[in-house]
């Protein structure tokens, strides 16, 4: 009795400084126990998910700042949403300074993990898998941070998303690295975002490997300051399985790295192989639009030194066979629509459609070998990537 009292006093006095650990085990009532922990956690607390399979019927959500959710590894702790009956995603995070690490999520009905307005978030060694492989009724996004400043995605693995595996939208200060995106429509997509670093990832068996887009009619536009470097972009040859209304439904099977609209994007030191439409594609927004705030052109896109193993050997393009024949059996690896501004350093053979107007289709195309100048200045890398303090959280 006395001992309990002393312990209680110690706990009470230490409470403000000591973060609490909430341990959750799989089994009966896991949905309620886990959700309750996510709600009652205090800033600084850690929610620890023991190894095992958690059968969950409803989406989870976290709205407390500074919480860490930690599993026993991306193959050890599995949140199974196969029988999910409600909510638009598996886990929704709406608070700042959250760390999600070392667990998996399978078959969510909508998106996997969505973090919205959640600044300084870390996704570390998370796996999101739709286990049946590519299918139009899989959820749209596996890892889905949006409207956030400070995003670090490191060591995740995403498979089967019917839109994008790793999708960062309308955000700023982003790093996506050391991750594997396999068999999604888009492997990794940076959309309407600024200051993003995409490096040391593997994008394979997607329809398109890595996409950098800027789209109209959204609250945040003007995407740019993006570096795509040191990625392995191979065998992105899965037929597009996105529902037709989505922007990625227009991505051609066999696209390696694609830039649409945006300003100041650097593509360098990537290895590109087996992307049969275009290893690198740089184009303007393809649809008509009437949003005055929007610039549909790619500006200041730089293709640096990359390793190309072949080019567009089986392009999913109108007149593809004729184009191939015209270019000697295979399209050169860099494809540009001729709109906006593109710079090339080093050895990067390419071709241009030489379009003169945005949003008018390919009717006026006059395909010819690419003649792009070298950039007139060093690419400005300042401020690109997630804030350094996010990295510090990985070692804890």
């Amino acid at each position: 009795m006395i001992r309990t009292a002393i312990t209680a006093m110690l706990l009470a006095s230490a409470a403000p400084a000591l973060a609490e650990i909430h341990s959750i085990e799989p089994g009966e009532g896991a949905q309620e126990r886990l959700q309750e922990a996510l709600i009652l956690a205090e800033p600084g607390d850690e929610i620890v998910l023991a190894a095992g399979r958690y059968e969950l019927t409803d989406g989870l959500s976290l709205d407390v700042d500074g919480v860490t959710v930690r599993g026993a590894g991306m193959d050890g702790t599995v949140l199974d949403f196969t029988t999910q009956a409600g909510a638009g995603e598996g886990l929704l995070v709406t608070s700042d300074n959250v760390t999600l690490r070392d667990f998996a999520m399978e078959n969510p009905k909508g998106d996997g993990i969505k973090s919205k307005g959640a600044d300084n978030i870390v996704y570390y060694r998370i796996r999101v898998t739709w286990t049946r492989g590519p299918h139009p009724e899989n959820g749209a996004y596996a890892i889905y941070p949006v409207e956030s400043t400070g995003v670090l995605v490191d060591g995740v693995k995403v498979t089967g998303a019917s839109d994008a595996g790793i999708y960062v939208g309308q955000s700023d200060r982003i790093t996506v690295r050391n991750s594997i995106a396999e068999a999604n429509v888009a492997g990794i997509e940076i959309e309407n975002s600024r200051n993003a670093l995409v490096e040391h990832n593997i994008a394979t068996r997607n329809t398109g490997g890595i996409l950098v887009f800027d789209l109209p009619d959204l609250p945040v536009m003007g995407g740019g300051n993006v570096i795509v470097a040191n990625n392995l972009v191979v065998a992105n040859d899965t037929p597009n399985f996105a529902p037709p209304g989505n922007i990625v439904a227009g991505v051609r099977r066999g696209t390696g790295i694609m830039v649409m609209a945006n300003e100041d994007v650097l593509i360098e030191n990537n290895i590109l192989s087996g992307n049969p439409t275009a290893p690198v594609m740089v184009i303007a927004y393809v649809q008509p639009y009437d949003d005055e705030r929007y610039n549909p052109l790619p500006r200041g896109v730089v293709v640096g030194e990359n390793t190309f193993d072949g080019g567009g050997y089986d392009p999913q393009l109108e007149g593809g066979e004729m184009l191939k024949a015209a270019f000697g059996g295979e399209l050169p690896p860099v494809m540009w629509d001729g709109l906006g501004s593109l710079y090339v350093t080093g050895e990067a053979p390419g071709w241009s459609l030489n379009l003169t107007e945005q949003g008018k289709g390919l009717g006026a195309a006059q395909p010819a070998p690419l003649a792009a100048p070298a950039p007139d200045a060093e690419f400005d890398r300042a401020g690109i990537g997630a804030p350094a303090e996010l990295e510090a959280r990985l070692t804890r």
Binding site: S61, G86, A87, L92, G110, A140, S162, V220
Partner: protein, 340 residues
Amino acid sequence: MKLGTASLLAASLLLAGTVIARATPPPEQYVNDAAITEGGLPRLLSAYGFFADAAAQEPVPHVYSYRLNTPLYSDGAEKLRFIYRPAGSQIVASGEGLLDLPVGSALIKTFAFGEGEGRRLIETRVLLHRADGWLALPYLWNDEQTDARLAVAGARIDLTTPRGEDISYRVPNKNQCKECHGLDGEVVPIGPKARNLSGDWLEQMVAAGHIDRMPEGADRLPVWEHRGKASLGDAARAYLDVNCAHCHRPGATASNSGLDLRWEQDDPRALGIMKRPTAAGRGAGDLLFDVVPGDPDASILLHRMIVNEPGVAMPELGKATVDKEGVEAVRKWIADMEPR
């Protein structure tokens, strides 16, 4: 020694007596203001003292029932709405929008299914206006219908809707409350906007001194049962405002979609007309635009109201069945638009 025991016993009896006496409702009962304003999460709904007769949903004095002209669809649940403001304060009218409720106020909404003797209270959601902002909490009724207990993690309950559909009814968890009630990171009320409140009710509240003055722009949304008398546009836009716009507006949960379905929005693109989806995923089906004038079946907006599948169905929370009346209203509105 024996005496000591006896007096201890007597003392404990006295204590017990006091407790019982406190639990017996006094003739005039009042709301427990401390439960609303002070920290912590009361475990039981009865702690607030909102009801003189909980099972009958009969409120104590100073708790007033109200209705909305056009209500949110909740699988046909009967919804009993109450508003409370603390003594010595006043609700401030602020145009057609939300009434400005002082700190210490509460909004209470009970969801019930079944009629007459068969009516069962399922859950009561409370919104408490504390000094540091609004707090939303869900309470789940017990089988005896005597009280409801806090269910921060929500619950699922099997029940049958008035249309005879067997559903797994979702009581939202505390975070899910914020998914609809969140605006610019804060929790805010949604329902009591002057434009969606009856003019008669507002006049009575003003006359009694509860609200400072008659708000301008009151009573604009059609009364849902009488929507046939309103224009197709007003009926549909009222429905979208009440059922969708708490998320689909700037600063709220679905802001990143760029779709803004508020009553006051008049930019056709923001309302979805010939707007391409942003992050709809498979929710878009085979369709290309949110609203295609003259062609409801080609409109994603309507598609997501008709398909009742998680990941596609809208709203994502708060309903398990398709709202046929809402579908009809929105269908007519889109069909009536000039094709382009």
